[in-house]
Point group: C2
Chain length 468, copies 2
Amino acid sequence: MSTPFTGRKIPAYDLLDETALARIEDQADWILDKIGVEFRGDQRALDYLAQAGARVDGERVRFEPGHARALCGTAPAEFQLRARDPVKTVILGGDNVVLMPGYGSPFVSDLANGRRYATLEDFRNFVKLAYSAPALHHSGGTVVEPTDVPVNKRHLDMLLAHLTLSTKPFMGSVTAPERARDSIEMARLVFGEVMDRHAVMQANINVNSPLIYDETMSSALRIYAEAGQCVCVSPAIFAGAMGPLSPAAVAAQTLAEAIVGIALTQLVRPGCPVVFGSFHSSMNLRTGALTFGVPVRSGGGQITASNAPDGQAMQDSTGAIWSTLLSGAHQVWHAAGWLEGGLVMSYEKFIMDLDHCGAMLKLLQGFDSDDEAFGRDAYFETGPGENFLSTCHTLRHYTTANFEPQISDAGPFETWSESGALPADQRSTARWHQMLNDYQQPEMKPGIQAALEDFVSKRKAQMPDEWY
Amino acid sequence: MSTPFTGRKIPAYDLLDETALARIEDQADWILDKIGVEFRGDQRALDYLAQAGARVDGERVRFEPGHARALCGTAPAEFQLRARDPVKTVILGGDNVVLMPGYGSPFVSDLANGRRYATLEDFRNFVKLAYSAPALHHSGGTVVEPTDVPVNKRHLDMLLAHLTLSTKPFMGSVTAPERARDSIEMARLVFGEVMDRHAVMQANINVNSPLIYDETMSSALRIYAEAGQCVCVSPAIFAGAMGPLSPAAVAAQTLAEAIVGIALTQLVRPGCPVVFGSFHSSMNLRTGALTFGVPVRSGGGQITASNAPDGQAMQDSTGAIWSTLLSGAHQVWHAAGWLEGGLVMSYEKFIMDLDHCGAMLKLLQGFDSDDEAFGRDAYFETGPGENFLSTCHTLRHYTTANFEPQISDAGPFETWSESGALPADQRSTARWHQMLNDYQQPEMKPGIQAALEDFVSKRKAQMPDEWY
């Protein structure tokens, strides 16, 4: 049973008025015209942009106001990200909200074993947990860094895990051109020609903010765009470090940086599906309201700098996902597990976050105000001072009225005490063990599984181990 | 140093469209016309309403559509709640957001001593803590139940504490007519004739939902309204028990119940300052968007049913205050300390909540999009790939750019581990001890202090102890 990603029914929150939004767009235009963006070491990217009319000066690229934005016009507003299991296919854009697990942590922690380097086993565990979680719609990418695998071979094991242990959409490698190509080739072993017409995977292109696309990122961007796969262009700006410290300036710089990457995808392959990403720290609210016709990914699902899955962690995480979901974001990275500024993926926090994802997805469904919702018949059954619990209206709806959490405990203090007085993080331990225990690997044609494993072992044999 | 309650700069979130709001208002009219509200045992209230044209049948009162609402027309949209220290005076309504501590818990807990019945010492402690907290603008009412004082004498000790240990606005007793009168008399010893022109205290009138005003509540309402003091009319509806289980129905019933109480305040004393309260459980978002011309109080600042100040508690609390503040509420009950569905006031959660209140007040200030915010000069000082930390723009603004929490710890794992690996609740213990230690009682004219103490001891001497 999955919690639907479709049909968000409550509106996005308009933090800023039209004047402020226009000023942010003007500032983005100003940055691209007067300062520009550098593509370092990628002559092909520079050629694409020069040919499209940008002012290229060495590695610096500048645009007349409005020009870069106009180049983005062929990007689709909404598109499918096809999954191996058709019921897991998601639509990015529109009224949809796709939740994903955390990304990129070199460490994991659980309450029994503490904090330690993440391994391939942890990676596979989190793929299984995300597959088992109704509130997550996507398998993620580098859910944790499998640090026990050589750096140059990790992508092979990660893709194998996403493709065989889950049927949800996933992300490919971007850390080197050959790793991007391997990712696409492995996906092709599973999806075949579908990939000529549809995106089946995503690549996260981090801008090296401020205002730099390095060769690794821009070539990965080009490789995925050439293959017609989904590119997510993600400026990651810590206010005051990679940009001015004010939220308006960070929003404008994000827009400027993202526009250029999105423009490049469209020059490489017009119509290539693309997602506008953002990751800001020290911003209180994400300005998802930017008027831009592609899906928007928000960086911070349930993020925190806390060192433990404690009250601070959940305070931070809950605030972050409220701002993210109210901003109107279409895709939410890091919706579960993230701890310690992303250094750690916590098994227990993953479970607590899932509970909250479920509640938030229910909230996105809004509420009805039709005749049935008002339950007038119940007022004739009862009266002032009387109880509504046994009215026909309550009986018609009580099973679906509220979200039922797994971890949250609203029972009496006495019962809770007698069960050991466990705080939420300790109650979560049993849950992730149970989920891994109950996990059943989805079926795959034996030939495909063998082809994938064969690809991985052949590629591994072609390369010496690199550890850094 | 107080965090201002004034000048909210970000808009309320419009969860519902005009059609849905109109349907909720129609449903409220329907309830008041076809079902009605009962005033039990309060003939004077029934007389007021009959004289104003309501259809009174025994204790049941019904209204033609729109009539009850029209009777509310003299209630002010915005008014002062005067404090003993003028700089602590707050304005309820408009762009203001007034945060208050929890209300009504019979138990307290702290990590060292666990969960226990609250005493007068705890009450005084929480008055001191709220006085010391920059993020709280109000001393609250029954911040905890002083269970070691006879029930019929508690209000005297509580009022004495609010009036002498704090200078922030406060609430009076409503649990019996003579207790309401005592509260007003004690306030008059401090404020004198100011009370003829201004509200200096609030009374929380809980509707006995569904659709009942009992004699205790409606007579307290009349007593405070006669004295021109602020009445907060608070339907408290658990969806499915005191009303239908759907959020739209609960919103409509809340509106219906509140309108009648507000109408009564205006019949007793036209222009009496009044606040529209609400407390719903099992609602995901409060519909603060109700188009009603008086200040709105939202029940749930940082509320939770959790049995410990753990991740669940802060997940619940953070979600609740996001919905509360985005709803546009003007006054927020239970912004700090509430645990276990209100049964417990937690010292440590109080501290964690204060941190979050400070952050949320910062968020309500929104952000600028003027030229200075965009920091164009910084882009000329640095360039693509360079750091903004030492730019003049950063130096001009870094001290005020971000909220600086007291408890939240974003430092490295190693430092945190070496300091004992304390989760947020454990880090909060030292803070509340420190605040109580640093607390200094505000000055009061000796004659006034003596008069208050004299009043309390005389009234106590007039009554036998009642313990239930």
